[in-house]
Amino acid sequence: MPAAIASAALTKRFGSACAVDAIDLDVPAGSVYGFLGPNGSGKTTTIRMLLGLVFPTSGTHQLFGSDISHDRAKVLGRVGALVEGPAFHPYLSGAATLARLDAADRTTDPATVRPRIGAALDRVGLGPAAGKNYRIYSLGMRQRLGIAAALLRPRDLLILDEPTNGLDPQGTREVRTLVGELADEGVTVFLSSHLLSEVEQMCTDVGVMSAGRLVWQGRLADLRGGQVPRARVETADVDAAASAMARAGLDDIARSEGLVSALLGDVPAERVVELLVRAGVGVRSFTVVRPTLEEQFVALTGDGFDVSG
């Protein structure tokens, strides 16, 4: 089965600024892929290239093995998208907005449009507001309408750019549930986010963008698995604790005032505690610290305050 999204050295320059720098995306079919990165790291430009809105400066990409430049209508029909926030005509109702979008899609059956609109709106919980004008929708309702538009017809791939932006905790949960349901149905979901907790809870695969480059890509479990836990000892007797930990075989021992920490590696924590107690070190606390996804993310992308380009 070809990958849902595969790109080769996909690059976009705006003038001299390089927004996206030779990225090789590989989104397995059936995965929920979290596209992480700080603001301005090139996520939206990448999504626009995937959808054919922005033309790449160089490089290629394929959706389900077909090139978008050849069979645009057929390929993009399999893709539902929410790009950089919802945007619809303010004086059309939710249902009328979906009707207009469906009318623009020549591959759907006009005879089934009413039930499909109803189903899409119900799925995102907008059924009761279907007849109200878009302009009086709250940000959360607008976001839901955007997702409903992406669900107007069965899709193989959903590209969701910051889908929980502006949603309250309840709405965020609903989106999470929805993404889970869609994934169970076999839909590949590609969702961009700068919210790590969101990605952690929803995704099976992760790609991390930083300053236009894809700095890490793979299964979320592998990203987690690559983390080596550290043993952290609070004590008044720093020197004795450090030598006991060295005897236990720990690396990268760091000392500071009242605190010693070291890479635990494969050494069982029980063994370290035993050695510390034998050496007569007064231990105030002993903890095993696993770097959070956030720390890993910052390690990959920097502090996130550098906006590139």
Binding site: E84, Y91, L101
Partner: protein, 257 residues
């Protein structure tokens, strides 16, 4: 969509009121017309009301109303962000341009037909209607006159396609609809100003607006269609040129709105 926007409905209403306004003004002034001119003829035959409205609205108001819709066509979608969703549906860019120009064409026709219809109606209400004395002095039956009015309406509508095509082209180059509307109207006015400068007579016959009033020839007997067919050809040429420019511009454009 065009006819559902309140702004457009208001514009169309005001446009259709132009002949009514003219009738009311002429009637209120109480002076008898002299015949031989379009405005002067209104008191003698109501058919002239619609023609006077075309004369009054033709150079500025009608192009304005057309450029509002045509200039807004792509830029309006871009500024509200709906363009990216339409293109991601997916709608082909060529098809989107074709639909937008088609809608602008329908709008042009709706505009001229409203002027003609309300003009006809106001003329029937306010003034005598019978045999029509043409500008050249000959008289024709009312039915024949109405037919000529229909031809005038068609001609004005077709010449407005230049404004529509210009508007769609400018609209592909910006995300600010009001800028596209203003630029379209400005270029139309520049053409008319150039047309009024005698020293530029060498280029006059190439100006898109030069033949805009050639429909006056329909009010003479025999009808000289020479200027009108040239006018239609020039319009057609500009429309083809502007639409291919729009296509070239829009087809390869990055949509970042």
């Amino acid at each position: 969509m065009i006819f559902r926007r309140r702004r457009n409905v208001v514009l169309l209403t005001v446009l259709a009121l132009v002949p009514v306004l003219i009738c009311a003004a002429v009637r209120a002034s109480g002076r008898d017309g002299h015949g031989g001119s379009i405005f002067g003829g209104i008191t003698e035959n109501g058919l002239f009301a619609a023609l006077a409205a075309f004369l009054a609205a033709g150079p500025l108001f009608l192009p304005l109303v057309v450029s509002v819709v045509a200039g807004d066509s792509i830029a309006g979608e871009a500024s509200s962000g709906t363009l990216r969703y339409l293109l991601a549906v997916p709608v082909g860019r060529t098809r989107l341009l074709a639909v937008k120009f088609g809608a602008a064409t329908i709008w042009c026709l709706a505009c001229v037909v409203s002027i003609a219809a309300l003009g006809l109606l106001a003329g029937l209400v306010f003034f005598p209607n019978g045999r029509l004395t043409l500008l050249s002095g000959a008289t024709v039956s009312y039915a024949q006159g109405a037919l000529r009015l229909a031809a005038v309406t068609g001609y004005v509508g077709l010449t407005m396609l230049f404004v529509a095509a210009l508007g769609v082209f400018v609209s592909t180059s910006t995300e600010v609809p009001i800028a596209a509307i203003a630029a379209t109207l400005t270029l139309t006015i520049v053409s008319q100003v150039a047309d009024a400068i005698p020293q530029l007579s060498a280029i006059h016959s190439w100006l898109p607006t030069h033949y805009w009033l050639a429909w006056v020839n329909l009010l003479r007997d025999p009808v000289d269609t020479g200027d009108m067919s040239t006018g239609l050809l020039v319009t057609l040429g500009y429309v083809a040129f502007l639409l291919s420019m729009a296509w070239a511009r829009f087809g390869g454009k990055d949509i970042t709105s």
